[in-house]
């Protein structure tokens, strides 16, 4: 009887321990499965979010192209036709007052044609497609700083060759937005945009000596209603699987854009 009880105690302890271990094992396995499921769901959610961002960015780009084409082909054509008609008027038969008005009208019309062409080229990424990212940035910097007090320069790595034109458009749009913001808000007198290609990674740096943004300010602003441009930049960064970092110091402000450039097509 006593030895039976002894066996019972020992077997009982073993069974109870086994039970606890089994339950613990089941909990661990279950937790692992839950975590795997959670990771898969997060990945899917991220994928869907990226697809949405991509769709938004692409549709924005298509819309820009449509507007650019309409401006160039339709508004531009009408304005050119109007200019032709205006030039068709014999100015020498007009009196002095009308001659001046004719001349002023011609100047204004030329201005409008130039502006429409400029906007159309800005919206359309012709230079980007034909000459690549570096040339498009150089051209854009030249154009926007022309006649301003801003001393702008570029130092871009010519080893960079387009791998994915869609990605180039995104990088170009980001640079456009950041340069425009600098011109609008920073009151800078010095401006430098440089790039370095390391392996499959491109680092773009925008530096200026005005009042810029820090990373904290960027994070705050991009969630505000007015921060649409910054939100677009962030979306494009997500799309490119890159990163952007804003830093500021005594000598100036710096925006570092890091983008993997390997084709993902």
């Amino acid at each position: 009887m006593t030895s039976d009880i002894k066996y019972l105690v020992i077997i009982g302890i073993a069974v109870m321990l086994l039970m606890v271990i089994s339950i613990l094992f089941a909990v661990i396995i279950n937790q692992r499965k839950k975590n795997q499921h959670r990771t898969a769901m997060e990945k899917l959610r991220e994928q869907q979010q990226n697809q949405l961002i991509e769709a938004a960015v692409r549709s924005e780009e298509q819309e820009r192209h449509r507007i650019a084409e309409t401006l160039h082909d339709e508004v531009g054509a009408i304005l050119s036709s109007a200019k032709l008609h205006l030039l068709g008027i014999k100015a020498d038969v007009l009196d002095d007052r009308d001659q001046k008005l004719h001349e002023k009208g011609r100047e204004l019309l030329n201005d409008v044609i130039q502006k429409v062409r400029g906007i159309s080229h800005n919206l359309h990424s012709n230079i980007l497609k034909e000459f690549g990212l570096n040339e498009a940035i150089r051209h854009f910097v030249r154009k926007v700083t022309e006649g301003s007090i801003l001393n702008a320069s570029t130092n871009l790595d010519d080893n960079y060759a387009t791998e994915n034109s869609e990605n180039d458009i995104s990088m170009y749009r980001m640079v456009q937005e950041l340069i425009n913001n600098t011109l609008k808000y920073a009151n800078a007198t010095e401006f430098l945009i440089s790039s370095v290609l390391t392996g499959n990674e491109l680092d773009l740096v925008i530096f200026h000596n005005g009042d810029g943004l820090t990373q904290v300010q960027f994070e705050e602003l991009r969630y505000q209603k007015e921060g649409l441009g910054l939100k677009n930049i962030q979306n494009r960064i997500i799309l490119l699987k890159g990163s952007i970092y804003f830093t500021g110091g005594d000598e100036g402000y710096r925006i570092n854009i890091h983008v993997p450039v390997k084709s993902n097509q």
Binding site: T2, K6, G12, I23
Partner: protein
Amino acid sequence: MLRVIYDWSEVWALLIPLFYIYKAKKTPVYLKPVKVFVWVSLILNLAQMIIWYRLKLHLPEFPAILQSNTFIYNLLSATRLITFSLFFILLGQHFMPRIKKIIPFGFLLFMIINFIFYEQFFSVAISSRILATEAALLLFYCIQYFIFQLIESNSISLPKQKGFWVVIGLSIYVAVNFFIFLFYEYLTDSAKTFAVDMWDVHNAVHIILCIFIAIQFNQKNDK
């Protein structure tokens, strides 16, 4: 000497969690009952060991009711069940909440009835009935904790779950001790050596429980 150290493990093992309790700056609410358990256990175990070692310690003769230390195990049993019940209730798992609240009252009622009608509180033998019931109830608490983890919990990391290490330690303690407690009264009468061996096993899992409590207090807990 080793024998003495091992006998006193019921006291010194509690110093391990106490060290981490002292080190931890803030104790989350759900761990406060465990903290109480450690302190009360230390005092009670110290008392029961002094009674047990009174001759070797050359202490003066104790009153008749303090000739045996077994009544302290009854107090320890009640302390363990009440403090750990409170611990499981304060974990805030919405799983069998009513049962969890009823158990400590039910157990105290059971203890009172048992010692009034069936057993003597100051008996010379450990009450297998009380200790085994307590172990079974604590095992129920541990199992319901794990079932909750299986069904409801969405936490990413299991070890970071509230009270996880305490429950692991307690599960091992009660799973091993249930059968020891259940047959201890019988074994002390009919197989004393085996009973002593089994009590050594009890002491070993008590050390394990203390280590797991220490791990819990060493963790950065969420309030």
